[in-house]
């Protein structure tokens, strides 16, 4: 059965996609050459056009929106809240304007709590992970005392450690960005620590530092040689920090010559003066 021109054109497009040239394809259909040639040239031009690609920012923004949507589709239930709301807010909700304001505020709080709860166990690559980072930033901004800020930094550092372990368990890969973030948060925690900080907090700092070192040592055998060097450097940073924290716990961290208090003109970030901060890039 003779093919119609529409089918012939479709076959020619298939051949073009397989790598045939316009001329070689047209040679198979000499009777249709004049009709097919301009059409195939246009097809070739369309196939060669660069594909429009979205920006990473646009994809990120869309994923955040989707994350919020998922949080709404996964409502978090709070036992006892329903009963409490009826008994405490029952009278207030009788006034329409006040009821509306309270409802809106409550919805916002619930949404925020819901999103935060759902995103708490996320790891990089998860849709809710950016929300987790945002939640951390918000809680940090709402902290006013430097001890509270230092505590939060320490919590974030601990979180990054857990995430490194999770990622390593899931994909058998070391996430360098997380490792970097873990050390930086711990470094920031030390920088935020006030000189008159409590012994409890110093003990906590020391415990987290030891825990991080243990974690790093536990997965050192599982990483390749390039990553092993990075892990070794990170372990050395933990060692240095451990010595410094223990010195601080003994109350003599400023007494040794190399750890003497800086002159006023040398005031800078504590970590830079001590040789494990930004001035001593651990990645080097």
């Amino acid at each position: 059965m003779e093919k119609d021109l529409e089918t012939i054109l479709d076959d020619c497009i298939d051949e073009l996609r397989k790598g045939g040239s316009v001329e070689s394809i047209l040679a198979k259909y000499p009777e249709y050459k004049s009709e097919l040639k301009p059409l195939l040239e246009l097809v070739q031009a369309m196939e060669q056009l660069p594909k429009p690609e979205p920006s990473a920012d646009a994809v990120s923004a869309a994923l955040v929106g989707i994350g919020e949507e998922i949080a709404l589709l996964h409502p978090v239930e709070f036992p006892g809240l329903k009963k409490k709301r009826r008994s405490i807010f029952g009278k207030l909700f009788q006034q329409p304007r006040l009821a509306w304001t309270l409802s809106a505020a409550l919805a916002l709080v619930l949404m925020f709590v819901g999103i935060s709860t759902v995103s708490a166990n996320s790891v990089p690559g998860d849709i809710l992970y950016p929300l987790k980072l945002v939640t951390e930033k918000v809680s940090f901004l709402l902290a006013f005392s430097s001890e509270r800020k230092a505590e939060l930094r320490l919590t974030f550092s601990e979180q990054r450690t857990k995430e490194i372990r999770q990622v390593l368990q899931q994909s058998d890969k070391l996430d360098e960005r997380l490792l970097n973030a873990m050390l930086k948060e711990a470094q920031s925690a030390l920088e935020e620590t006030p000189n008159d900080t409590s012994a409890i907090f110093l003990a906590k700092l020391n415990a987290v530092n030891t825990y991080q070192k243990d974690v790093l040592e536990s997965f050192r055998p599982r990483v390749d040689s390039a990553n092993e060097k990075i892990v070794n450097r990170a372990i050395r940073v933990c060692d240095m920090r451990g010595r410094w924290i223990r010195g601080m716990m003994r109350g003599n961290w400023d007494e040794t010559p190399e750890r003497r208090s800086p002159a006023p003109h040398q005031e800078g970030r504590r970590s830079e003066r001590r040789g494990w901060g930004p001035g001593c890039d651990w990645m080097r």
Binding site: E6, K51, V59, L63, V64, L73, D126, I127, L128
Partner: protein, 188 residues
């Protein structure tokens, strides 16, 4: 805020896509994230040739992904066909909202904001010219051209997605290419 994005476009084989879809229908966040990552560039390219303003293209693509999440549990049949139908509906709603269908102006609001004009690379056609040409086709013809030459699907896949016969798609394709050729020749 930093998102850990893949550097390359995510592609899924049919079996893998079906597995992800099954999980996404149970609203598993990881599966929905994967599905969104898979769909976003495809929908973006589709909408790119329907809408003029790059910011609108991004907004509408985001809207399609949101609608996908909201309705994924009810989705049946060809997923690819469905997602393009959702995209088509979102574009229609967009023009309905803005009341006046904008005349595609190749010089307006810089298509080149997203990808460079291809004249410089020696191609016979650039995105702005194709966009202009597509605006003169019927909705069905435009659909076939975008799915075939922008998204790279085969005729059979397009027929399945649009719920048409292979012959109908070939006929639409033939008429669309012929019309496009005439339009582009006239412009030159």
């Amino acid at each position: 805020m930093r998102l850990y994005m893949r550097e390359k476009v995510l592609e899924l084989a049919e079996e893998e896509l079906q597995a992800v879809l099954e999980q996404a229908r149970r609203l598993e966040p990881k599966a929905i994230a994967k599905l969104s990552e898979y769909c976003y560039p495809k929908v973006f390219r589709y909408i790119f040739y329907h809408v003029n303003n790059p910011a609108d293209v991004e907004d509408l693509t985001g809207e399609v992904c949101l609608r996908m999440v909201q309705s994924i549990q009810q989705q049946k049949g060809s997923f690819k066909g469905w997602i393009y139908r959702v995209a088509s509906n979102v574009v229609t709603d967009f023009y309905r909202r803005s009341a006046v269908r904008q005349v595609v102006d190749p010089a307006a609001d810089s298509v080149e904001d997203i990808v460079d004009d291809t004249d410089e690379t020696g191609h016979l056609l650039n995105q702005a010219q194709l966009k202009e040409g597509l605006s003169h086709l019927t909705d069905e013809q435009r659909e076939v051209i975008i799915l075939k030459f922008i998204e790279g699907y085969e005729t059979e896949e397009i027929a399945h997605m649009l719920e048409k016969s292979n012959e109908a798609v070939r006929a639409l394709q033939f008429r669309a290419i012929t019309t496009l050729k005439k339009i582009l020749q006239t412009e030159k």
